[in-house]
Symmetry: C2
Subunit: 235 residues, 2 copies
């Protein structure tokens, strides 16, 4: 069976972002990405200079690690990255689902995969202008079309007014998707302490922004894990 | 039409707790309660010595205030308290729904009302032992039976190990309800600053608690509004 390059497997902890915020979760962070966002907070799973730290693992070995961390007690597994859609997570998801585990996937929506249909939650997070990446709309639509039995949600990181305007336009084209906006985190060095008040202040800015426009559609959430643990890895 | 005793109407802000965390919301806080929880954080809407500050309002006047605050742009209205179920919010909900507003209700589940069926979200928050209140199971079941087209979720505040054990037992009897656990806030004086780290630490304790038991069902969420604004009122 094809191996997968994995940067980290950790948990159980709680999901810190988006539609599943607060949900007990084990994270499987895939190595490798087709994007290079200016403010990437997971460069250790993106920059191929870290590739030596991404062991090639069989799906069965990943599943064994998940079962070890969770004591065999099923819970939600969130596959993130990097962009996990550059690899084939279909066999891992099939194996885990057979044992009662649920699967969420976080991806920017640049590559569609047929195994998206087996997810419980597909989180599509197209990147706004501040990332210096430009989403491919056709690829994003293909990701949406690959959805199956599970839920799909839209999560957009907002650093500034330009991102906000872009997010509103993008979201308007997908009026049926649950929408989550999340303030960007400009400090991504795990060695630098994060000030909880700074995280709070960025969310308060976003609350003020949507209130001023009376745009009541998006849910506004912080990166709760950053409020709890700063930029520490493995939590 | 019967008037309603209202302690506060404020917003739009974001919902800070439970299933709708992050959702833009206007809060209508009803005055009066059939409980007196030891750690109540809304005594200004509970203790009848505050009754002079709860104007008796017609539903139409409440709706006019909601429309004024939201500029007539529909959003979620959360009816809280006190225990709003001691009054008849049916006419207000019918009026708001006709204008496109959605309604959530927060109640301990001690009094069932037929208008629960018209809610988009019924949040039942039975009180654990630290409250010094004892939930009436038959009344709680009647609240569940009154559910209609909307969602129902269970939210339980946890101060200590005894609350945690009680919550687990209570939740086990309702395996189909989405479950949210929320650390208690021992400091409820709006004049006393809240330390964000203290709020974080209480959530971290709860994360450790469910992890130790590998009880992966509940979602664990803080009072996000307390992290953002402390105990300030009207936000």
């Amino acid at each position: 069976m094809t191996t997968l390059r994995i940067a980290e497997i950790f948990g159980p902890t709680i999901q810190g972002e988006g539609a599943l915020i607060g949900q007990p979760t084990i994270f499987v962070r895939a190595g490798g990405c087709d994007y290079r966002c200016s403010w990437c907070d997971s460069m250790h799973a993106v920059d191929s200079s870290f590739r030596h730290s991404w062991p090639a693992m069989e799906p069965a070995a990943i599943m064994a690690r998940i079962e070890d961390l969770s004591g065999g007690q099923p819970l939600t597994v969130s596959i993130s990255g990097g962009n996990p859609a550059i690899q084939d997570f279909g066999p891992l998801i099939a194996m885990g689902r057979a044992r009662g585990y649920g699967f969420a996937l976080e991806t920017q929506g640049s590559i569609a995969r047929d195994w998206f249909a087996d997810l419980d939650m597909l989180v599509l997070s197209p990147k706004p202008p501040s990332s210096n990446e430009v989403p491919d709309i056709a690829a994003f639509e293909a990701c949406l079309a690959a959805r199956g039995r599970g839920e799909v949600s839209l999560k957009i990181v907002i650093f500034d007014d330009a991102d906000y305007a872009w997010a509103r336009d993008f979201a308007d084209r997908h009026p049926d998707l649950p929408l989550y906006l999340q303030p960007g985190n400009p400090e991504v060095d795990p060695e630098v302490p994060v000030m909880a008040q700074d995280v709070a202040d960025r969310l308060l800015w976003l609350v003020g922004r949507v209130n001023a426009d009376r745009w009541f559609r998006p849910r506004l959430l912080p990166q709760l894990h950053v409020m709890l643990w700063g930029n520490m890895r493995g939590v």
